[in-house]
Amino acid sequence: MSDPFLLFDLLLAGAVIALAIATLTVRDLFAAIILFVIFGLLSALAWVRLSAPDVALAEAAIGTGVTGALLLKTLHHLRYVTGSLGTNAVESLSPVQPVPAGVSWANAAFCGLITLGLATAFLGAPHAGPGLEGLVAEAMPASGVSHPVTGVLLNFRAYDTLMEVVVLLAAVIAVWQIERGLSDAPAPALGEVWEGFARLTLPAIIVVGTYLLWKGSEAPGGAFQGGAVLAAVGLMLLLSRLYVPRPAHRAVARWAFVLGTGVFAGVALLVASGGRVAFEYPLEHAKTLILLIEGLVTISIAVTLAALFHGREPVAVPAERGDNDA
């Protein structure tokens, strides 16, 4: 019991679980989203305690920041569509078939059982058990970067990361296909204080984003965290209407989305043709290649996350809606 942080950990764990329960039980949706954002930040803090700074950064930036923005935008859209924008309508905004009490209790009991099973299995498992850290440490000199997480992300398991960026691309294609048209729920003007703030912070955020990207090769940071921070730039531009997406920009946007994936896959294949296997960067070029890929992937991620926030393909939807009668 000598560990000074023990009390802190217990408190933090309690707070995280309490917030999780509160997120699902509080009546007002807006409050639920805010509680969720706080939950995300606290869990990021917990991950810092578990000495996982990269993951904490990613969770805070993407898991909570961008997701929170998406949730708020969706809530705004739901309220706008149901016309309850002005008032703080607390009831849920979508048709609700009340789940009979019996079923929800059965579910709860069922999940309780699962939790018990998982907990006992977790306690039974070896703690601080076997892992791949030895192998990673051994292979790090050949990876071209010094920060282990970036090494794993962009060299040892580069295939996973490529597919992850493909998932992001698939998401933006799907979102563009689902939502269309120029009209968007009209956001109220944010006033000039916000303009001043935006004008002041935008350049700073860009600098911080690129700094994060650059530091990625030897300290916690990298493509995804940098990309998320740069995405914040996009979000602020969209919110403050400094940039309004127009149909003409679609071609550029499409290029930006596929830039990261295309270059990543292209480099992987080019490298493979020299008698090596895909993703096998030659040692001397490894660092430059990884940085090139990381930079472009960051740009792609930033533009994609901003487009996901905007949520629709900026195209003039033909007047009659019946274009899809399949």
């Binding site: 023990l6 950990d9 679980i17 329960i21 997120t23 699902l24 949706l29 639920a32 917990a46 305690r49 578990l50 000495s51 996982a52 990269d54 993951v55 990613a58 969770e59 898991g63 997701t67 998406l70 949730l71 969706t74 859209h77 739901l78 569509v81 149901t82 849920s92 979508s94 048709p95 609700v96 078939q97 579910n107 709860a108 999940c111 309780g112 699962i114 939790t115 998982l118 977790f122 703690h127 601080a128 058990g129 850290e133 990673v136 282990p148 997480v149 992300l153 398991r157 996973d160 992850e164 998932v167 992001l168 698939a170 998401a171 933006v172 979102v175 689902i178 939502e179 995804f224 949520g311």
Partner: protein, 96 residues
């Protein structure tokens, strides 16, 4: 009571809460929140899997996995939210 024990159980608890929410919540937005909770719970478990004895360097592989998991989860959430928005505007369009 080392940190990884505490946070491991927290992760499982959060996953379970998310599971209950995903199964019983009727409101569409809340189900997305519940699923996101599940993903954070799974993230907890992986990060705990990476934790090594205090102050020793943690295992980087699960960290990379969780980062990938987070990015994948945000794209899935974005698509789900787009579907909710679309469904709502279609329903509103049909009602009036």
């Amino acid at each position: 009571m080392t940190p990884d024990l505490i946070y491991g159980l927290t992760g499982i608890a959060v996953f379970a809460i998310g599971l209950v929410g995903a199964l019983c919540a009727q409101d569409r937005l809340r189900r997305v929140l519940a699923l996101k909770l599940c993903s954070v719970g799974a993230g907890f478990l992986l990060v705990v899997g990476a934790w090594r004895t205090p102050s020793a360097a943690p295992d980087p592989v699960p960290h990379a996995l969780v980062i990938t998991g987070i990015v994948v989860m945000v794209s899935a959430t974005a698509v789900a939210l787009a579907l909710i928005r679309r469904l709502k505007s279609l329903e509103a369009e049909d009602d009036d």
